[in-house]
Symmetry: C2
Subunit: 464 residues, 2 copies
């Protein structure tokens, strides 16, 4: 029976979605595919101006490679509305009343508030950039890059900035991608990170390869640099970043320190959160302990199938899959999200960086003993034009020989090779089994032993 | 105890290798890594002029993309000899005496013959191009492309040919790669094939995409064309190819009809051969029923892990792995070659073509019932520069949902994506599990759903 507060036709249910990006709108779209508007009413609240956009595309929009923001929008509010999804933009959900099965929302333009009842609640509130409470951090010219609105604001700053010096704080994926974007815009770029080496999602030995390549591109990479202050000029705008006592002049600052799950509403409502502050769900993406509340995307923690631990991995690809699963289940079908193996791929100009599974520190942390090997190979047969070097690091468990993780740093053709290891990790293959895999070979595509297999051979030898 | 005929030090064994390319020399090298010359003597007979070369690289040498033939040689006879492997070039093994544990060889220069005893015999005799007994097939200007000597002879013809018309007979991997090579050399290229569509290692609907792309490149592709005669001019050289009553003028003809295992010696010695004429081995690459005879490379049949049948798949990557396994076992270590899933990747100019697992006809042949779906996707996020279209076809078993095969036709970034499916096939994943895989995603590398997963989603829906 439909929720009384919905006030609709008898038997009609209402699905309320909080957050109109990847997870939320995938859930809405998939539920709509399975159930028509007579059976299911769908209301989606989004506090921003856009729906279903690719936040991952923002660095390329800022860098000028992709026209934006329209091209980054997979589906507009109008397109969703045409499919009977009631999208309410610029409307923020301010409270969850789980016992009453209703949410309170506020129209950000008019300030008016309302309660909306639900039968199924989908929390897809995303994540927000970490913004340490430093002096000057909110000065004009300091930007996060999480939403299309953030991208637009950053581009406005780039258009009006007097100088051409950029400081990127944080050398993770967003940081290195923004370094490329700013380089493409003609900026002199300095990247500051607390860790010694960039890309701390890799082991430091592989991060070092990234640093060297970035330095060769003309990007200054400063490790071991904790930012303590943002200095402003007489006009109140950013003029420099201070780290470890040194001043780094800046006409624009981009924060790429990472994100944290946006789960304030969920916390206030008493929903279960994990160690990283993300919502905890079951395999069907139902919030643990609640029959009628679902969650997906950057606001949830996911099961890491290799370590058996929950992690927070904000990535559009997971958000889409999780939304799809929620939509299937709410729509009367069936779907699960079994977990992740921690695959990520990124690039800085022509450098490709990929990882999957566990780093050395992750493996140690969960009590695994392992061997780690690194090899140099090439993307194509050595004699074939364009064969580019790549380094592949591989971790394998002692005794069992099970593959635990792979990290790749190289040029064209390096990044997506990590998928071989991602599938092997999911299937629980040993490095010996990886050696025997029947992978695509022809000189323009691979050496006769794929680089991942070259690493696996070395791992097998190291385990013997 | 060492073989008496070896006449060497007591306890010293002798490994005799027949065939000095990928499988044979990988076996020799790996055995040498494990056992020094005091424990193991290694003799390798090769009837040609080269060892350890990449036959797969010949089309790129002919096409002028790779200087040759030196660059195609992974290890020269001198390099092998420096590691105490006694390589005897231009020496053909003419008889196997299995009861006497010896082989007879003939020096192709002097004609002298000799018997050599062995403790371990490794048959790595490769394959030879199919050359149907048609009138004119042996005329000057008609070339196979199996060995470096073949490549050299073809290049000589290209240098001296009067005209610029080439006919390629056979539209499999070698055929389409040679079509590209000849196009690069400025030839007008016609490809003739008995099948209606090129690349019969794909289903015809995917082959059709290849034909259209080849035609767009200016290659004439004639399907349903059985060659009946090669016509020669007054100088005795090829001048045209006749198929289905039509004459195709040709200054050069390349045969890419396929290859057949070179197992005449093995057959004469009574060794077990399969339905395709290849040697049958166990998982350690020992010839079935023989303790002291091993075989690997293009002369063996391999177990297809998806169909459970033996197949003949002549590919350098298998040859290298099998050689490695043989060398490990002869050298006192342990290794197996568990089988293949039928992965292959190729390109014609910018077109990438890949397959793994079963085609529709393969699945039917072994009694599997399945659903087949095809999707169009892109290599990168749709908005990212260089996003190229690709078609992905996927077969999944009815009821179980097990992945059975994938075929991909696209541009840059299409080919090696087949590895995702190759690993999934090896692990026996269902299409539902493929949908959930944690694959590398970032806009320059993939849409948010990898094309293989887009196909898997459609397969899941088709199975429901």
């Amino acid at each position: 029976m439909g929720h009384a507060a919905a006030g609709g036709r008898p038997g009609r249910r209402r699905m309320v979605v909080v957050g109109g990006d990847a997870a939320g709108m995938s859930a809405a779209s998939q539920a709509r595919r399975l159930k028509g508007p007579d059976a299911l009413e769908i209301v989606a609240f989004e506090r921003g101006h856009f729906t279903s956009y690719s936040a991952c595309g923002i660095p390329y929009w800022v860098g000028g490679e992709v026209p934006g923001p329209d091209r980054l929008i997979a589906r507009t509010p109008e397109e969703h509305r045409a499919r009977d999804i009631d999208v309410r933009l610029r409307t923020e959900v301010t409270e969850l009343d789980l016992d009453g099965q209703r949410v309170r929302s506020r129209d950000l333009e008019s300030g008016s508030e309302a309660w909306t009842g639900y039968d199924h609640l989908v929390l897809a509130t995303g994540a927000r950039p970490v913004r340490p409470p430093l002096p000057g951090i909110d000065a004009p010219g300091v930007h996060g890059v999480q939403t299309l609105d953030d991208g637009r604001a950053l581009l406005d700053t780039l258009t009006t900035a007097r100088g051409r010096r950029a400081v990127v704080v944080g050398a993770g994926y967003i940081g290195v991608e923004m370094a490329e974007a700013l380089l493409n815009r003609g900026y002199e770029v300095t990247v500051l990170d607390m860790a010694e080496e960039p890309m701390s999602t890799l082991d430091p030995d592989m991060g070092r390869l990234v640093r060297r390549a970035m330095e060769d591109m003309g990007i200054a990479v400063v490790g071991g640099a904790r930012v303590t202050e943002v200095l402003t000029g007489p006009d109140g705008r950013v003029r420099a970043v201070v780290a470890e006592g040194a001043e780094y002049p800046a006409d624009v600052v981009v924060l790429g320190i990472g994100v944290t799950p946006e789960t304030g509403l969920a916390r206030a409502a008493g929903l279960p959160l994990g160690a990283y502050g993300g919502l905890l769900t079951d395999l069907s993406m139902r919030v643990r302990g609640r029959e009628d509340v679902w969650a997906g995307g950057d606001c949830v923690e996911v099961l890491d199938l290799v370590s058996g631990r929950e992690r927070h991995i904000p990535l559009g690809t997971h958000a889409n899959k999780q939304g799809q699963v929620i939509g299937a289940n709410v729509g009367g079908g069936y779907g699960t999200f079994p977990g992740v193996v921690g695959t990520a791929v990124s690039k800085v100009c022509s450098l490709e960086i990929a990882r999957t599974g566990l780093r050395e520190r992750d493996a140690r942390e969960v009590g695994l003993r392992f061997t780690a090997v690194t090899v140099e190979s090439t993307s194509r047969a050595g004699y074939y034009p364009g064969a580019a070097p790549m380094a592949v690091k591989m971790l394998a468990e002692l005794r069992t020989g099970r593959l635990l993780g792979v990290q790749i740093v190289g040029r064209e053709g390096a990044g997506k090779r990590v998928d071989i290891a991602a599938v092997a990790l999911t299937a629980g293959l040993t490095v010996e089994q990886v050696v025997s895999l029947d992978l695509g070979y022809a000189p323009p595509f691979s050496p006769v032993w794929d680089p991942v297999q070259v690493a696996a051979r070395k791992a097998v030898a190291a385990l013997a």
